[in-house]
C-alpha cells in the first residue's frame, strides 16, 4: 500500500495549479457571475487541453482511461481556484455517456463526447432529485436532462431553458430546462449509467469541496497572521487558533475519504467522502467568515468567491443527510 499521490500525480496537480494561478480565476468567476461566460469558456478550453475533462472517459472513447484519483486531484485544484461552470456535471456527463457506450449504446457518446473532451462543447446535466434545475444551462452548449418517463428514465437534449434564478453563489447560474427535446437514451441501461454518473459527480463535488475548504483556510490563516488588534496579530489568540485548528482537522480527515473513494468507487465510500468534504467546506467557510470579520462579509473581497460556493457545493449531488442515509443502508 502506498496511499499517497505518486510523483506523476503530484506533477499533474502542480501543473494544473500553475495553469489556474496564471488564469486569474477570481476575475473569471466575476465575469461568469455577471453573465459573461467568455473568460470562463477560454479557461474551459485550457482545462480541456490539460486533460481535465478526459479523466472520466475510457481510452476507447478517446479519454485518458477512467482515472478517478487524477480526477479527484484535478477537481481539488479547481475548487482551490474557485473555477466556475458545470464542472461536476461535465464529469457526470462523461461518466454517463461512456457507461452507455460500454454497455452497448455508443450513439450518444459518439455524438456528444468528443466536444466535451476537447472543451469545444460545454455540457450540463440535470437528474431527478436535483430540484428540477440545471447548473449553467445558459453558458452551456448542450443541456442534458434525465427524467422519469412512462417506462423508466429518459435522457433528453433539452430544447432550451428558462430564466436564470439568483443563487446563494452568483457563479452558480441555475435555470429550469424546457420540457421535451430529442430522446437520446432510455431504459434500464440508462438507469445504470445515471447511477455511474452520480458516483463520479459525487467524487468530483467532494474533491472540489476539499479544494474550497483548503483555500478558505489558507486565506484565513494568512489574514489572521497580518491582522493586528490589541497590538498583536489576532492569530496569536487561542480562540482564533483553536477554531482554525478545528478547521484543519475537518479538512485533513475529509481529504483521505475523497482519495479513498476515488480508489474504491464504492457507493458508501463516495457518500462518506461527499458528506465529509461538504461539511468540511462549509465549516471552513464559517470559520473564514467569522475570523475575517466585517471585511469577510463583503462581496468585494475575493474570499466571497469561495465563501459562497461552500454551502451549495455541500448540498449539490447528495446532501450530507442523503449521503448518511445511504451509508447506513449499505453498511453490512
Amino acid at each position: 500500500m502506498r496511499f499517497l499521490p505518486t510523483a506523476e500525480q503530484r506533477d499533474f496537480t502542480r501543473s494544473l495549479d500553475a495553469l489556474l494561478t496564471a488564469s486569474d480565476t477570481p476575475s473569471v468567476v466575476r465575469s461568469w457571475s455577471a453573465g459573461d461566460p467568455g473568460p470562463g469558456r477560454a479557461l474551459w478550453a485550457r482545462l480541456a487541453e490539460a486533460g481535465v475533462f478526459a479523466l472520466a472517459a475510457p481510452e476507447a472513447q478517446d479519454g485518458m482511461g477512467r482515472l478517478p484519483v487524477e480526477l479527484a486531484l484535478a477537481y481539488r485544484e479547481l475548487g482551490r481556484h474557485a473555477v466556475p461552470g458545470p464542472l461536476v456535471e461535465t464529469a457526470a456527463v462523461t461518466a454517463l455517456l461512456s457507461h452507455l457506450a460500454d454497455a452497448g449504446d455508443p450513439a450518444p457518446a459518439k455524438r456528444l463526447l468528443p466536444g466535451v473532451l476537447t472543451g469545444e462543447s460545454v455540457v450540463t446535466l440535470g437528474v431527478p432529485g436535483g430540484g428540477g434545475y440545471v447548473l449553467d444551462a445558459e453558458g452551456a452548449d448542450v443541456v442534458l436532462v434525465v427524467k422519469a418517463g412512462a417506462t423508466g428514465p429518459e435522457l433528453r437534449l433539452a430544447p432550451g431553458h428558462g430564466p436564470v434564478h439568483p443563487s446563494l453563489d452568483p457563479a452558480r447560474r441555475l435555470a429550469r430546462p424546457d420540457p421535451g427535446g430529442e430522446l437520446l437514451a432510455a431504459g434500464p441501461l440508462l438507469a445504470e449509467a445515471v447511477g455511474c454518473a452520480v458516483r463520479w459527480a459525487r467524487l468530483a463535488a467532494a474533491a472540489q469541496a476539499v479544494g474550497v475548504a483548503e483555500e478558505l483556510l489558507r486565506r484565513t490563516v494568512a489574514y489572521v497572521k497580518q491582522r493586528t488588534q490589541f497590538g498583536v496579530p489576532i492569530g496569536s489568540f487561542q480562540a482564533v487558533k483553536h477554531r482554525l485548528a478545528d478547521t484543519l482537522l475537518a479538512v485533513e480527515f475529509a481529504r483521505p475519504l475523497v482519495y479513498g473513494a476515488a480508489l474504491t468507487l464504492a457507493p458508501a465510500d463516495l457518500a462518506a467522502a461527499k458528506a465529509a468534504a461538504g461539511e468540511a467546506a462549509y465549516a471552513s467557510s464559517r470559520a473564514a467568515l467569522q475570523l475575517h470579520g466585517a471585511i469577510g462579509y463583503t462581496e468585494e473581497l475575493d474570499l466571497s468567491l469561495w465563501l459562497r460556493k461552500a454551502r451549495p457545493l455541500r448540498d449539490a449531488w447528495g446532501t450530507p443527510a442523503e449521503c448518511r442515509a445511504e451509508i447506513l443502508a449499505a453498511h453490512p
Binding site: M1, G235, Q238, K241, A245, L249, D269, A272, I327, L328
Partner: protein, 381 residues
C-alpha cells in the same frame, strides 16, 4: 496512490483472524479497573504472547513478528473486530517500548520487553505532577545521584494503571540548576513495590481505581534503569508522547469495530431517525480515521515522521470516541445509565470522557496544530 494489500499481508491477516476466533474469550472479561479484571487481562496477555500476537511489530527475538506498520494495522483491525479484550499492557507496549527501541540499550530491551509482552510486568506511566499537568516541563520530582543509581523523591499523579501495575516510567529532575525547565530531566523506570513508594489509587469518575497518585521517598533506581543519557529526558519523553498521540495508541481497528457495534445497536433499536445522522457519522469517522492512518503509515513507511500531525490524530480520536459513545447512550435511552446492562457502552463512555484530557489535553493539541501546522504566532496559553 493505492490501497492494495500484498498476498503476505492477506495471509498474515487470515492467520490473525483464525487465531483470534479460536482464542478470544466468549464472555467479556471483568473490568480492567478492578483487581479481578486486571488479573484476567494479564492472563489474556500471556495467552496472546504464547501465540506471538501480543506485540506483532516487535522483532522476533523479543516475542514479536517483525510486522511492519501495515501488518500491525491489519492485526489491530482483526483484533478489535474479533471483540478481543482491552490491552492491560497498552502503556508499556505503546509508550515505553517505542522509547526503548529508539533510546534504550539492547540489554534493557532484552530484559524488559518479553516480560512486558507476556503481561508478567505491567507498566504504568508517571508523567504528571500536582503542579505540572499541561505545563509538564515545570515538574519538580527529582532524582539525586547515589552510589550505582539515583534516589527518586517527589509526587506523581494521574498515573494510569498504577493501582495494579508493577512498574512505572517517567521523567525526573536530575539537574535542579539547569537554565531552562525542560533541561536537566532524566527518563527513568522504577518499581512500584520498591521501598519508599506509596501508591494511592484514585477513583475515576465512576469510582474505579483507573489511576493513582505516587508518593516517592528516596526510591532507589539502579543506573541500568535510566533510558538514554541523564539530562535528555525531555527530548526522549516527547518522542514517546508523539507515539502516544500518533499512530500507536488508538488504532483505527478499534473504532471501525465500535462503529459496527453502534450500527448494530441502532438497528436493534428500530433505526431511530433522530440518531441516524450521528450513527452514520460514526461510520464515516471510523473510515476517515482508517484512511488518514493509512496515509500517515504510507508517509512513515517512506521515511517520514508523524511530528505535529500526531496532534490532529489525537484530537480526532478523542472527540470521535466521546461522540460515538454519546450516540450509543442516546439509543439506549433511559437504560443507558445501567452500566451492567448496557453492553459495555456505559463503561466505554466513562473511559472515552478522559480522552480529551490525557496524552496532552486537546487545548494543548490545538495550540500545537495552530502553531506548528498552520504557522500561527505563539501567544499566551
Amino acid at each position: 496512490m493505492d490501497l492494495d494489500h500484498t498476498a503476505e499481508e492477506d495471509a498474515f491477516r487470515a492467520e490473525a483472524r483464525e487465531w483470534l476466533a479460536a482464542h478470544v474469550p466468549d464472555a467479556p472479561l471483568p473490568s480492567l479497573e478492578t483487581a479481578e479484571g486486571f488479573a484476567a487481562h494479564r492472563e489474556w496477555e500471556a495467552e496472546l504472547y504464547a501465540g506471538r500476537w501480543s506485540a506483532v511489530s516487535w522483532p522476533e527475538r523479543f516475542g514479536g513478528r517483525g510486522a511492519d506498520i501495515f501488518r500491525w494495522l491489519a492485526f489491530e483491525e482483526e483484533y478489535w473486530a474479533a471483540g478481543a479484550p482491552g490491552r492491560v499492557s497498552q502503556n508499556g507496549i505503546s509508550l515505553l517500548a517505542p522509547t526503548l527501541f529508539d533510546h534504550g540499550s539492547e540489554e534493557q530491551r532484552a530484559r524488559i520487553l518479553p516480560e512486558m509482552a507476556r503481561g508478567a510486568v505491567v507498566w504504568a506511566q508517571a508523567w504528571s505532577e500536582p503542579e505540572a499537568g499541561s505545563d509538564l516541563a515545570s515538574l519538580r520530582s527529582r532524582a539525586v545521584r547515589t552510589d550505582g543509581g539515583w534516589l527518586l523523591t517527589g509526587q506523581k499523579t494521574w498515573s494510569s494503571r498504577a493501582a495494579f501495575a508493577d512498574r512505572a516510567f517517567g521523567i525526573f529532575r536530575t539537574d535542579p540548576v539547569a537554565p531552562r525547565p525542560h533541561q536537566g530531566l532524566t527518563y527513568l523506570m522504577f518499581d512500584l513495590r520498591a521501598p519508599g513508594v506509596t501508591v494511592r489509587p484514585i477513583g475515576r469518575l465512576d469510582g474505579r481505581p483507573a489511576f493513582a497518585e505516587l508518593f516517592l521517598d528516596e526510591v532507589f533506581v539502579p543506573d541500568e534503569d535510566v533510558i538514554g543519557e541523564p539530562g535528555q529526558g525531555w527530548r526522549i519523553a516527547m518522542s514517546t508522547t508523539g507515539d502516544e498521540r500518533g499512530l500507536t495508541l488508538r488504532s483505527p481497528g478499534r473504532f471501525l469495530a465500535a462503529a459496527d457495534r453502534l450500527v448494530r445497536l441502532w438497528r436493534e433499536r428500530g433505526e431511530d431517525r433522530g440518531a441516524r445522522d450521528r450513527v452514520a457519522d460514526a461510520v464515516i469517522g471510523a473510515r476517515a480515521y482508517q484512511l488518514f492512518t493509512y496515509a500517515g503509515a504510507s508517509r512513515f513507511a517512506a521515511g517520514g515522521e508523524m511530528g505535529a500531525e500526531s496532534s490532529l490524530n489525537k484530537l480526532f480520536w478523542s472527540e470521535y470516541d466521546i461522540e460515538l459513545h454519546e450516540t450509543a447512550l442516546e439509543l439506549l435511552g433511559a437504560e443507558a445509565e445501567l452500566t451492567d446492562l448496557a453492553g459495555g457502552w456505559g463503561e466505554g463512555y466513562i473511559f472515552a470522557l478522559a480522552g480529551p484530557i490525557y496524552a496532552g489535553t486537546n487545548e494543548i493539541q490545538r495550540d500545537i496544530v495552530a502553531e506548528r501546522l498552520l504557522g500561527l504566532p505563539k501567544g499566551r496559553r
